[in-house]
Symmetry: C2
Amino acid sequence: MQTTAAVRGLSCTACGESADPGVERCPDCGAVLVVDYDADAVESAADCHPFPPEATVSIDEGATPLVAVPDLAAELGVESVAVKDEGRNPTGSLADRGFALAVAAAVERGADRVGTPSTGNGAQSAAAYAARADIESKGFVPSRCPFLNKAMVNVHGGDMHVVEGRYADAVEAFAESDEAFASVAPGHPFRIAGATGLALELLADREWAAPDTVVHPAGHGETVVGLQRGFALAVDAGLADAVPRIYAAQPDACAPIAAAAADGAAEPVPVDHPDTIVGPLEVPDPAAGTAAIDAIDATDGDGVAVPDKEILQAAVDGCELGPEIGATGGTAVAGVRALADRDAFASDDEVVLVNPVAGSKEADLLRSHLMSLGM
Amino acid sequence: MQTTAAVRGLSCTACGESADPGVERCPDCGAVLVVDYDADAVESAADCHPFPPEATVSIDEGATPLVAVPDLAAELGVESVAVKDEGRNPTGSLADRGFALAVAAAVERGADRVGTPSTGNGAQSAAAYAARADIESKGFVPSRCPFLNKAMVNVHGGDMHVVEGRYADAVEAFAESDEAFASVAPGHPFRIAGATGLALELLADREWAAPDTVVHPAGHGETVVGLQRGFALAVDAGLADAVPRIYAAQPDACAPIAAAAADGAAEPVPVDHPDTIVGPLEVPDPAAGTAAIDAIDATDGDGVAVPDKEILQAAVDGCELGPEIGATGGTAVAGVRALADRDAFASDDEVVLVNPVAGSKEADLLRSHLMSLGM
């Protein structure tokens, strides 16, 4: 596989073994792989793009704004709060950074079809990038997947299997499928690499001054892993001088990563009966969960679990103070409030929240919350 | 009102009279006003921002990508096609550029509440920017306004009057309202100035090489006017060497600007019974219609009216080739196809399409088109 000079290969997050960029999991131990970068070859955020121009698949993802939210900083009693608005990606979610790379990797390996299970946004993004690369895609989504995601998968010409039940059922249908496709499922090393790009871009937005804290609403934990790798890479490359603490925020009704991190456990415990209104985060058995907990620990971060009701209120409050966020992004706002309540921050802390999904994509959830308040 | 050095004041698009930045229409003749810039003070796209930092209201609008769509260029037989993806603004529409400025102007004048009629996206944007400025807002929307827009107006804490009927009824309710608010209605000079910023940014994206043609889906014609002013300003400022031809694309069931431009008429004829699936463009009596026709003529451009069915198919095709676009953006794709059919382009033409609204915001329209095709 053709990669840039910055890429040395893949390495395993569990056993450290090296692997070829063409594989999906560690051939030795089966754990999640990440891209292993040569820090000496990284002098800017763009340098961590793993593929040369001729092998790139892009709809101009990234370059999202870091929006200052001073009213939230005042409420929390910290120096600054900014939202990295990943809703402003091509299909309205952070997933685009990962699928741009994972689809490019699949094309490089000669695939003419990619497949993934998804709570919704991933299937939409996979279909968009596959269409852009002129290959086919197949998404496995649960019946509760939002209409918007299902509609846009079809609009992009993607194939879709709507699996009766919840996300775990979609994962099972994906695993049991005998259809031919290259897997771009959660935990894919190049999906994680999308978040490494996010980390470097976020630092570049701040002229390489690392924030003290990043709060991210976690699902599979891919972004948590990629962020930590990116921050560490920036330090190794001499671009930044510190790695921010990473906090994984999750709905308390489905918080396998946040609960394990908070308990000091090494691995997430799969959630038997997940039931949160925040569909994109209803991931009971996260693909990169163990690696995410390691990443959180490496940054001296933590997990924070918050109730759905606080998440929805935080989303609405967030929309009044800063950029549009939905229930998914509201999980970061509710999380940062819970962290402030337990005195996790100093008064001079600079805090970045990641908004993974455009607020407009989750308008129905926010409106029904207002309805429940009689508004 | 506090403005930057680049702003000389306002001038009337009809009689040329100067006006104070605080007024909404020409005090002499009642026509639409535009910001009058001092070209000598404009050395970059940022220089045309009319307000100094302390008077700016922003959620980091703009800085949207110009996405190359080579497959569409090949289909049309032109040198290049790129989509300026305005769906990647804070609330998912081009309206954000205008409301950032119009709300800032209202705040500068001491307003604590703004009001506007809207087909939907404008009300959402107005509510978002009013919330960001910590003032109130009131949107007048027709009952056919999409749920998503109505929901997000409420989420931003905006007040809303859902007027039974179509857009013209919302305009009437707005005009008859005796509530106190500063008007940020269509045709507002600072809403038009938002599109002037778009023109300069688009040129900067291309390193100041003007494209041959820009195709824009027109509603009120504000963006057409602002684009032409911006391109002309860039030439006056010595930044660019040509003004692109501007084509206004509209659904044929509601094409007051496109029809008048195509007929060589000086003014749009209001449409008695508008009926298009493209809600944001169902504007039967455009506020900046006459000025838009003048702007089109000044660039040697034209109007192009296209049927809803072609618009929806063009939107779906667009989503397979480039960034996500909805029915509104699909109007530009259908328009550029119709223009190519009538040999409007040379083989070395560089064409830019404006996508005014995020595709995800109009997923339902695109999905029902697929349904009508039995998909």
